[in-house]
Subunit: 192 residues, 2 copies
């Protein structure tokens, strides 16, 4: 079997972050630059970002909007990054791939982070309405996730239930469950 790329193989989403770690400007620029070069439908680039580092008031704003379960650990990360999708183009036409492409940008950023020795934990659990209001986002800019980005700290204090999840092995569905079943499983004849 061809080798799985090490960045893909070792990436995971910890909750234990080093609360003393700060993201420098070069690192932030590299993360955003990686996302910027992701592919998108007709190069529409629907992804939008609000990076917020610890000590910036937008960091506190995003932290306050997190679901309780996330607010316990995520603010120990050096950065909270709001990822949003511009769901319409300049002419008001819906972008059907806005969320898909925004996910592509996020995944590209995550692998760049891994490359830089950083960990990322993405969160869907936050008050999107509160964020939209606080940031005066137009309705065509849809908050999708908040990414906690920082240096993994295996010794970071966590509540017992989260600490247990932190130690559990990564799991995925078997490949068979991801392949679309259907009529093509009995092809009429093998082609040359």
């Amino acid at each position: 079997m061809s080798p799985l790329h090490p960045l893909v193989a070792r990436r995971w989403s910890p909750r234990g972050f080093d609360a003393g770690h700060r993201l420098d400007d070069a690192t932030l620029a590299a993360l955003l630059e990686a996302a910027r070069w992701a592919p998108s439908a007709n190069n529409s680039q629907p992804w939008r970002f609000l990076p917020a580092r610890r000590g910036e008031h937008t960091f506190d704003l995003l932290a306050a909007a997190l679901a309780d379960g996330n607010r316990v650990w995520a603010p120990s990360a050096g950065m909270l990054l709001l990822v949003a999708a511009q769901t319409e183009d300049e002419t008001g036409r819906t972008r059907p791939w806005a969320l898909y492409d925004t996910g592509q940008a996020a995944a590209t950023l995550v692998l760049q982070a891994e490359h830089l020795g950083l960990a990322v934990h993405q969160m869907g659990g936050f008050d999107t309405a509160a964020v939209s209001t606080a940031l005066a986002l137009p309705p065509t800019v849809r908050p999708v996730t908040v990414l906690a980005i920082g240096r993994h700290d295996p010794a970071a204090p966590l509540p017992d239930d989260l600490a247990a999840r932190e130690r559990a092995p990564r799991t995925r569905l078997p490949l068979d469950a991801l392949l679309l079943p259907g009529p093509w499983q009995a092809p009429p004849a093998a082609a040359a």
Copy 2:
């Protein structure tokens, strides 16, 4: 500035593919394995795939569903991969991050492909209804993209307009256009 990962820096979406190239089983397995390990909301893994290699009848089925502009070049790739999103969970609840996470899986697969020396060109332009009907997909499985995956061939024959686009430099919006503007640009005070 921290270095952009070479897989991110050099990735692009060509239209010129080597029509004689065939994807072996190990390569296909590695591509799907990379996608499988992408992150997703609550590890829901909403991505679904139908890989079709040249010579398989599903390849012809997907090729026939492509928009005219894509059908000119995409079937020269060794594989067409249908990427779909399971938009509801087993209990019928909507998965708000299904498209976003499916995009993450696709982007992870694309970087794995780049790692293996392959090129990927994603297409949103195809007849999703025809694909859903032909494959008897349930309404909760939404076809999102078809990926042409193969070996880039800079000498592959292309119509003049596409050949010109093939030679054009990659472009992206400036970073400023991707950062959310708003009230946080004038923070009340710089925090420590």
